[in-house]
Symmetry: none
Subunit: 204 residues, 4 copies
DNA sequence: CATGAATGAGCCTTCATTCAT
DNA sequence: TATGAATGAAGGCTCATTCAT
């Protein structure tokens, strides 16, 4: 007899995760009713539990799925780009664009931070840790090339991530997502100027 | 049904708010038990309800009390300072310092954003709106003085607030608050360089 | 030192009873809030307890006060009347008139029956027992005089009381009290015909 | 949120209603604890809520179920009977008999009147309205046949219902139900004499 | 495997009652 | 004596989780 984690239908799994994002984002973690998620996914409540174990793990899987998508979006956006400044700009825009397209997902991020602070390695930070290497490398390269100021690379990367995070969090409230793109562009612009050795300041 | 009636003992009110911050920060909104808050405050459960009406309003009052303190801290830190750059630096540092001293309160901010997204005017944003005029003015002045680039003032202010917010949110997880001061300083440094017309880049 | 049942201000007592009727009638026993009664009476909650001991006893005192008034109304209405038929008719009309003027009080009666069924000697029945002698005597007299059928007097008295009670209970719902007088008259008419030896049937 | 969804086990539903009558009748509406009802019914508290939504609706359903039984009892008792007098007598006796067999249910009636006065169409009156046509017709027929006095039919029907109601309400307190049959018979007797054109008074 | 009816722990909230002032 | 702030027991209701079908 195989363990409980037997064969699972990937489509069903996706349907549950999709419903999950919506319901969690709309109702919060405490406010979300697993039954509602099951209904929206078109499966029985028991199936949700079979696939994800419990509400908490379902939520975490939802957050993880979102982060995976975000990660992919960004990596795709910067794939093949050589110029450090352009890379940073594009990754920032991709970040913003992702949340503009999936505003629900900002809630998930917030929720995770709010409900599971510290109790688990925060998905957002896990992914940041995983992917920071890419950005670290870009910034290091820029410093080496004399394009960027001689910053603490780790801190500079964090600042970028925090700026983006803060921007989507306050920028995704209600239908305000329309202005999110603009807000991100301005934020990225300031950030880039902030790390450039000789920003083309006057030009802007 | 009294709503927020009568003479209330300010000490008791404070005790409840203090317990409130701790319990909400540690357990989340849904996870917090009003009885626990009452116990920690050394009052009966009924008293909490007498003072704050219901759990939600207790939470909101908690958030508001925190924001009031934050606001005061920042205004005090920049009081009398003339130089725009210095004002920005100090307000950023005051922001960071506040959350370093009251790390619990970051959780309250997050929680509010998470639980009441949209349903109420977010305390954080209300205070931002209320106080942004100060920063707007500083930036405008800097632009007029030729110190800052010709930015969209509103966006620049937002970027600053978002950067700080993002920094404390990711910087206040678990005992990491030790490094929060450093993170804030780096973030502020990048921000200031990002808006200066001619940053003393090489000097850093 | 005198016992707790010390000096009491009769006006205060009346004020409390008056408020009591309204609040209990409107909110039911469980739904009534002693604080509201105290407020309406213009006294402190503690005073209500000082005067009546507890909610239950307050309610019972309220019911008793009402019954006392009803009793007085009826006795006054039949005072000096000799004719048995007329006496019955008048007592019935006085009963109806009382509840038409104090519709709130029907609720008290119902409530008492509903909340304290059996647990206490029902005020309504206590008063019925106390006053039935009067009606019993009238009916006995009528039988002796050959005016009324040879009925079981006790049962006949009960039937009269039950008929009146049933009529006000269903007749006092909502603003229907306007028709209560009519309903009582019709009920009394049928009752009297029902006990008369030779009703002047055709005349009606 | 399901309201009264899905396939429900009729046996379970009945068990809950049965427990409901007992507990409400014994404890009153406010005094009844839904958990006790659940326990007596041999189901979980959640099941009660699943089946009936909330305490109030459970109570109303209980009242309705009782009225349905009462209605059936009476209709069965008068089925096929032609004589108006006999029909009235039988329906009165059936009414009494029903409450003699289910004395608990009188409490439900009282409770409903007490707790929900006006807030809902009183079940008792709803059923009265629904079934009054039957009695109205009988009395009309009697009047047409010259058997009954020329009464206001509507009022006469009401008087009958009120008399019966008053009788069971005061007759069903505690173990007094033994005498209820007798009380009803006497009441019905007086009523019938009260509406007959020429009651066979002397014969009784 | 899938389902959803059943469960009961958990928690918010109310309000009768007390008692310090 | 009067007050009303404080208390905490009590109970309605929800919803995560289980498990019989």
């Amino acid at each position: 007899m195989p363990v409980a984690t037997a064969v699972q239908d990937p489509e069903k799994r996706q349907a549950i995760l999709k419903a999950s994002i919506e319901v969690f984002a709309q109702q919060g973690f405490g406010g979300a009713d697993v039954e509602v998620i099951a209904d929206r996914a078109g499966v029985g409540k028991g199936t949700v539990y079979r696939y994800f174990g419990n509400k908490r793990d379902l939520f975490l899987a939802t957050a993880d799925a979102g982060m995976r998508m975000l990660e992919a979006s960004i990596l795709e956006a910067i794939d093949g780009v050589e110029d450090p400044v352009e890379t940073i700009r594009r990754s920032g825009n991709a970040y913003g664009e992702f949340f503009r397209k999936h505003p629900r997902f900002v809630e998930i991020l917030i929720l995770e931070r709010a409900e599971f602070r510290g109790s688990i390695p925060d998905t957002h930070l896990v992914y940041r840790a995983k992917n920071r290497g890419v950005l670290d490398e870009i910034i290091k390269q820029g410093i080496r090339d004399g394009v960027f100021r001689n910053l603490d690379v780790h801190e500079a990367t964090n600042a970028f991530a925090n700026l983006l995070f803060g921007t989507v969090v306050t920028g995704c409230i209600e239908g305000a997502s329309g202005k999110l793109g603009q807000a991100i562009e301005n934020a990225v612009d300031i950030y880039i100027h902030g790390i450039l050795i000789r920003p083309k300041a006057e030009a802007t």
